[in-house]
Every structure is written in structure tokens, then in C-alpha cells.
Symmetry: C2
Subunit: 255 residues, 2 copies
């Protein structure tokens, strides 16, 4: 399925370690890349601690506001993994040892001759009625409740689970992003670029300063879902750069 509906999404990254600086998040940027390709608009990201009140408040706000919510973290076997309990409370359902997940995990540990400890059984817990997200890396599944996709925080596992999730989502009209390198700083292009944005309001034009040596250059990015509109905006931007180049004292904006 591929249609023109614009679908929106949020991410909720869960974990004390992201807020203490101990772990530098890698999942947000990966999700952003994957959703861009899938044509789903990532509109907001939140990072919260392993704190039930914070998790419940964030997920309830985000799931009512966006089409999809993707979460990372807090579904392991230890005491600070409270995402399954928090999601159950957010949806007002019991948090259970899911029978199918218990079977998956008990068989996996039996094959390996390892004890299926109480801690390991925690990884089978999820809100009653949740569907699984397969985990090809380490077996313990993520889960889906309504529009919320609950995945692991370990990047290797998050990536694998997200691949499984994205394959199930209807693809939206893809956002095209066209990048135009610009040899001027934002101070030179700000006013004419603002006028170009106004004239092409079915595109979104961003400019990103790049600091190289002692000068700022700019990357201009035109985003949209309509190729003709993007072509038209790009043509105006290139004309602007051409005009500036003729009148310029030189390229790059010194800091």
C-alpha cells in the first residue's frame, strides 16, 4: 500500500543512561532516517528516565497526538526495566507474562542448557493482548499496543526490530529532500531565501550552516512531496546563488 496520506510519528527513548550522558543515543537518528525513507513524518522526540510517571505521561500524550509512537529501551530483565509495566498502565491493561513469549524464551534457554530465571521471564512480560515484534538478535520480543511500537534500547536489537515494524506499515508519499550546496553564509542568503520560501509554500526550505576553518558555508535543503514544486524552488535558489556570486566580495562567511 502506498498512498498520499501524510502519517506522523513520535519517538520516546527511555533510559536513565541517556540523560546521565553515560550512553549517547544512536536510535533517534536511525529512526529518523528510516521514517524519512518510509514517507512517515517524525514530528517529535522525547527522552525520559526509567520513571513510571514520566513514561506514562509521555506515551499517552504522544499516542493521542501522532499516528505512530516508537519507543526504545527498558524491556530487559532487570529491575530498572519498567517499560512493559508502564505501557500496561498507560493503556489500562494488565501486564502479563505473555504465553507465546514465555514459550519462545523457555525453548531458547532450554536449547542452550541455561536456566530460565525469574529475571529472564521478565522479558516475556507485556500488556495483555499486545502483538509481538520479532527479535532476530536475542529472541525476547518487543511488542505493539494499538499505535505504540515498543522496542529494545540496544542499538543492534532496535535496528532489527524496527526493520520488522516498518515492513508492516503503509508507506506514505515519500518526502524528497534535495540538497543544494551554497558558497555563502546564512547572513548573505537569509533575506532572499526567506522570499523564495514564501513563493514556494508547498515546499519546506531549510538552510544549515557549516563551519569550516574560519568561515560559514551553507547547505540548503528543499523538502517536499511534489517533484515539480521542488524543481521550481531549486531553480530559484540556484538563481539566487548565481546573483550573489556576481555581486559578492568572495565566498564563505567569515566568523
Amino acid at each position: 500500500m502506498n498512498d498520499d496520506t501524510i502519517r506522523t510519528a513520535a519517538m520516546l527513548a527511555i533510559g536513565d543512561e541517556l540523560l546521565s550522558g553515560r550512553t549517547k543515543d544512536k536510535n533517534i537518528g536511525h529512526l529518523a532516517d528510516v521514517l524519512q525513507i518510509a514517507g512517515i513524518d517524525l514530528r517529535e522526540v522525547r527522552i525520559v528516565a526509567d520513571d513510571e510517571v514520566a513514561i506514562i505521561e509521555a506515551v499517552n500524550t504522544l499516542r493521542n497526538r501522532y499516528d505512530y509512537v516508537f519507543t526504545s529501551g527498558g524491556i530487559g530483565p532487570t529491575h530498572d526495566d519498567i517499560t512493559a509495566d508502564s505501557m500496561s498502565k498507560a493503556f489500562g491493561v494488565d501486564c502479563i507474562h505473555d504465553p507465546a513469549a514465555m514459550t519462545l524464551l523457555s525453548e531458547m534457554y532450554a536449547r542452550r542448557g541455561m536456566e530460565f530465571t525469574e529475571a529472564r521471564k521478565r522479558m516475556a512480560r507485556m500488556p495483555q493482548g499486545a502483538r509481538h515484534i520479532d527479535n532476530p538478535v536475542s529472541t525476547a520480543p518487543g511488542f505493539v499496543v494499538e499505535n505504540v511500537f515498543v522496542m529494545a534500547g540496544v542499538p543492534q536489537v532496535f535496528v532489527a526490530m524496527l526493520d520488522n515494524v516498518v515492513a508492516t506499515l503503509p508507506a506514505g508519499a515519500q518526502v524528497i529532500a534535495r540538497s543544494i550546496p551554497c558558497p555563502f553564509g546564512e547572513g548573505d542568503i537569509g533575506t532572499p531565501l526567506g522570499a523564495i520560501q514564501k513563493a514556494h509554500d508547498n515546499t519546506s526550505i531549510g538552510s544549515y550552516p557549516q563551519f569550516k576553518g574560519d568561515r560559514f558555508f551553507t547547505e540548503i535543503v528543499v523538502r517536499g512531496r511534489d517533484v515539480a514544486a521542488i524543481d521550481a524552488a531549486e531553480a530559484d535558489i540556484k538563481a539566487m546563488i548565481e546573483t550573489l556570486s556576481r555581486s559578492s566580495e568572495g565566498v564563505g562567511e567569515r566568523v
Copy 2:
């Protein structure tokens, strides 16, 4: 000043490019590191688009909830830099071309023989009454309104501005984090570690799986503000590892 008050903080990272995947944020992790050292608890992070409604809602929520809010992004010279306007609306004050910032910037451009364009003048805009945050990299200041510190998104500038900000904040009691490498996976340690956390409730004990080859190891981190409490928890964790080592089938938890 250094006292035992626990001060809390949030970060608000602003920018379409963070949500499209085009830019991978580096400022969140840096802020987390700096606040950890300063003894300030980072409790929440949000990333929102260059969207006035989203920025205003987020900053108003966060500034009422935490002692400090640190923002990044959206204070450059182009049309999509709307942070100064959004902050002014959030605080219900006019967004003005700050006279001192106009002087700083006009002198800088005059020294360099560059035109002080309308776009460049945008970088002097801030909520009326805001204090400056010095920008040693590229002159255009960030600003402070009440408990909200508005900084640039370009990492080199964010880092420099944050250094200036942190020097002005009262240092809290520093959080000490002690890391204990553990040769077992979370499935082995989950239950005993949960009991240790319960017995040491003036510390926060986290466990972080590390995936190496085909096995999970764990890093256990004890955090707190009281050295004696951390020592006591650490001793129990080391005893747990010792006990597990004697009874174990081998180290590392296979995936």
C-alpha cells in the same frame, strides 16, 4: 556556591533537520555530560521541529517543571530560525532587535567590511529584557529569559555558549557514578540485582547490556550523591558477582 539542593533540568533541541535524519544531534549527549559534572539532574529531553506552536508548548511545559531549560537551534539569520520569536511569545514579551546585540554585530561586520544585512540583523533579535549568552565563536549571542537558556544548534557554538552558561549556575551536589563491569548477562543478575537495589534505596543502580560477539555482558552503574551509600551498594554487587562466578556455567550470556 555549592550546596546539596538537587537542581533539575530539561533540554529542548529545535530543528527540522534533527527529525528528518539529516543532522544527527550531538548537543544532547554533550549537555548530559556537562550537567552530570555540574551536579544538575537532566530529567527530560524533547526534540521539536522549527514550528512555533510546538516550540512554545514544549518550552512552557519544561520551564514550569524543571529548574533550568537549555535549548539548541533556530537562532540563526534565516527564515526557518524562529526560536527568538517563539520564546518571546512563550514569555508574552516583544521580540526586539536587542540594542547591545545590534552594536556587537554591526561592529563585527564593520571590522570585516561586510554588509550588516537584514538577515544578519535577525541574529540580534531576542525577547525584550533577555540577557546575553556570549558567543566567542561567531559573535551572535544566545540569550537567557528567566530559567531558559537559548543557545545555537551548531555544535561548536553550542559547546562554547554552554561553557559560559554553566559557569554562572550554582553547582549542586555532584552525582557520583561508579561503574562495575559484570561478566554475566542481565538474565543472570536481574533477580539478585533487583534485591540489591531494594536494599540500597539511596542509590540508583542501572545495568546496561553490552553485546560483544555472540554474548551479552553487563555494565552495572551505581549512582548517588552519598559516597558511603555507593560503597555499600558496590560491595553487595561485587559479592553477587563473586557468588555467581562460583556457581556459573561460564561467563557471558549467549544471544
